[in-house]
């Protein structure tokens, strides 16, 4: 089967990566294991899972069969697996690479999703536990006075999930040249005349440039699940899987993930499936070729900015010619840790995200209209009184 479950070498219970201790900790027997230890134990299994494509194909066949049966939900986005612990069917989105069994709750890594060209180069392991992430979120809420009553409550965020999102990181070495014109303007006064002298220069700049860690998300936008009453367990499971997609596979996911940046990529470690145990993970869907142009444009833009920064002292710098020669380019497919959750308020699903490495928070918080109106009225009244008192002194 194309799933991998990490078990405690001491007692055999499910094993998850512990962000706080940066090791593997068994909640049942209390044993701790280093990442290296677990990786060496599971090296063989990970290797096997990485090259096992058969289950993926089998899953695709299942999907085709389900389609033929006329099941209406979006089958294009789901694949089924068997839980290695309880044998239950795990239905996931096609891009999901790590999840947990809906029946027994054990963490499962879908190794075949991270095989071959889809194997990430590096991963930034979670540094914040779920409790720490909730704490960060509560800290953010604590400073906000206009949240609806009961919103800043830890139980609201019990369903917070740790997800590894796929990103491309690109480094480039290049030699870039720019020709531009710049002006220097000088003013002086003599008698009753004011003089303005404008000198025009042609500026030549060439530099050896090294640009690192230009990043781009490697996940596509998808449709969520259709909200209908499930007829079979399989449909129910599928809908559960699609709900997970609904939470963050929408147009605003990109903005959400952008806002929890930056990540300290110097802390990235070579990829190992073991880091995914206990978290959800998404495999990349965007290849180098899909974003090569976009990254190229961004590199050019950054190189020009670096060259133009050396043209200080000139006004109205305008570029005449730019050229570059790429000397080297390195792409790294990296998984980034993000804690995500959602909150339903007045029919709206509001997503929240917390950087799993730094704790930086993002989210559109709900505002209690009544509280805000009351405080705005108080502020308006205070300003009115101050204005009247000021008026009595100055008018």
């Amino acid at each position: 089967m194309a799933t991998l479950e990490y078990k405690c070498p001491s007692c055999g219970a499910p094993l998850s990566f512990n962000p706080e201790k940066q090791n593997f900790y068994c909640e049942f027997c209390g044993s701790s294991f280093t990442a290296e230890h677990i990786q060496s134990l599971y090296a063989q299994a990970e290797q096997t899972e990485s090259i096992n494509e058969r289950e993926v194909k089998s899953s695709e066949e299942q999907r085709d069969q389900a389609k033929q049966k006329g099941e209406e939900f979006d089958e294009d986005c789901m694949v089924s697996y068997s839980c290695p612990s309880c044998g239950a069917e795990i239905i996931t989105a096609e891009s999901t690479a790590a999840t947990e069994c809906y029946f027994c709750g054990n963490p499962v890594v879908l190794g075949s999703r991270l095989s071959g060209e889809f194997k990430p180069d590096s991963v930034i392991p979670f540094a914040l536990t779920k409790d720490m992430a909730v704490e960060e979120f509560m800290k953010m809420c604590g400073k906000k006075k206009f949240l609806p009553v009961g919103f800043a409550n830890k139980t609201q965020f019990e369903k917070m999930q740790g997800v590894y999102f796929p990103y491309w990181y690109v480094d480039e070495q290049m030699q870039a040249s720019e020709v531009a014109t710049g002006k220097k303007v000088r003013h002086w006064t003599s008698g009753n005349r004011r003089y303005t002298e404008t000198s025009t220069y042609r500026l030549f700049r060439t530099g050896d440039i090294d640009i690192r860690n230009v990043f781009e998300e490697a996940l596509r936008d998808k449709q969520g699940a259709q909200q209908k009453e499930p007829q079979t367990n399989r449909e129910a499971n599928a809908q559960e899987a699609m709900k997970y997609l609904d939470h963050y596979h929408d147009k605003k996911r990109h903005e959400m993930l952008q806002c929890v940046h930056p990540f300290d990529v110097s802390k990235a470690v070579p990829f190992s499936m073991s880091y995914l145990s206990g978290f959800k993970a998404e495999k990349r869907e965007v290849g180098k070729e899909d974003i090569a142009d976009l990254i190229g444009e961004r590199m050019d833009q950054y190189a020009r900015r670096l060259l133009e920064d050396t043209m200080a002292g000139y006004q109205a710098v305008s570029m005449e010619n730019y050229s570059d020669n790429t000397l080297g380019q390195q792409w790294r497919y990296t998984l980034l840790p993000v804690w995500i959750t959602t909150y339903q308020y007045k029919g709206q699903i509001l997503p929240f995200a917390i950087n799993g490495q730094t704790g930086k928070t993002y989210g559109k918080l709900p505002v209690s209209g009544g509280k805000l109106a009351l405080w705005s009225a108080i502020v308006a009244l205070l300003v009115f009184v101050v204005a009247v008192l000021g008026g009595m002194f100055f008018l």
Binding site: M140, K144, S177, T181, G182, T189, N192, R193, R194, Y195, T196, E197, T198, S199, T200, Y201, R202, L203, F204, R205, T206, G207, D208, I209, D210, I211, R212, N213, V214, E255, Q258, C259, V260, H261, P262, Y302, R305, L306, T310, K360, T361, Y362, G363, K364, L365, L372, A373, W375, S376, A377, V379, A380, L381, V383, F384, A387, V388, G391, M392, L395
Partner: protein
């Protein structure tokens, strides 16, 4: 400890207050009495002893009948006849806490020998030019004889007489000086809070509403866009070795403009006084 430390401060503050009050009382005690119906200030000391009390009683009686404040003021200010009107009208304005809005004031400047009668408010209508002349004629014999006591009595009697005769139908009021004070200025002087609320309240209200709106908007924004977008830090993630850097001069041109030397100066100083009638110095 607290009591010991604060006692000297309290004592000195109390002494300062007593001194200030004492000084005030000393000034006021010297021939100064007033109520809503009368005011008598005898700075020139023209009414010694019982005369002072008799005049006070007379003025009070007339004031109560007319509803005006009937005032006699003697001074040693040595004001010239041409400045009597302005000077004593300002004197009235600057002492509004003692003077009533409706008043008739007979001023005797003992140092210069000039006198004036100044009316304010409702009394103005009763003191036509003709009656002012009549008042002057009635006072002259006593003033020329330096009989200030009877001059004061006559002033009070004539005031009551004019009141009882009512407002003349075709009287002229050339002796009246219309102050430059507008309704706004008057309200501003008399009730600043009401002035600010009625004249500028709309603006204050708008400022308050705008502040409330900005407060709400900023907070909605803070909640809506919670978390600054993570931007790529080029400085931190890049390095550059400049291998060629040339700045080649192409050309230059110079333009000039003439500085105009026009200048303007201006400024105005405004002031105002209340409407009043006066007899002119006599």
């Amino acid at each position: 400890m607290m009591k010991t430390k604060s006692l000297p401060k309290f004592t000195s503050a109390a002494l300062a207050l007593l001194l200030a009050l004492g000084a005030t009382l000393t000034v006021f005690a010297a021939g100064f009495d007033y109520s809503k119906s009368y005011l008598l200030r005898d700075e020139a000391d023209l009414y010694p002893g019982a005369d002072y009390d008799n005049i006070k009683e007379k003025l009070d009686s007339v004031g109560k009948q007319t509803g005006w404040q009937v005032a006699v003021v003697t001074t040693e200010n040595n004001v010239s006849s041409s400045r009597m009107d302005t000077y004593y009208n300002n004197y009235y304005d600057n002492n509004r806490s003692f003077f009533q809005s409706d008043s008739v004031m007979f001023v005797i400047d003992n140092a210069s020998g000039n006198r004036i009668i100044i009316t304010h408010g409702a009394a103005e209508q009763y003191f036509t030019d003709a009656r002012m002349s009549e008042m002057k004629n009635a006072l002259k014999p006593f003033l020329s004889g330096n009989d200030m006591l009877n001059a004061a009595y006559t002033f009070a009697d004539k005031t009551l007489e004019f009141y009882q005769e009512g407002v003349p139908l075709n009287g002229t009021y050339e002796n009246h000086v219309e102050g430059t004070e507008s309704e706004d200025d008057r309200l501003k002087r008399e009730n600043k809070l009401l002035y600010v609320l009625t004249r500028w309240g709309w603006l204050m209200g708008l400022i308050g509403l705008a502040a409330g709106g900005i407060f709400a908007g900023v907070n909605v924004g803070r909640y809506k866009f919670n978390g600054k977008s993570g931007t790529y830090d080029l400085r931190e993630n890049s390095s550059m070795k400049l291998v060629d850097s040339q700045d080649v001069f192409l050309h230059k041109h110079t333009t000039s403009t003439t500085i105009s030397s026009g200048s303007s100066s201006g400024g105005s100083k405004g002031g105002g006084s209340s409407s009043h009638g006066s007899s002119g110095s006599f």
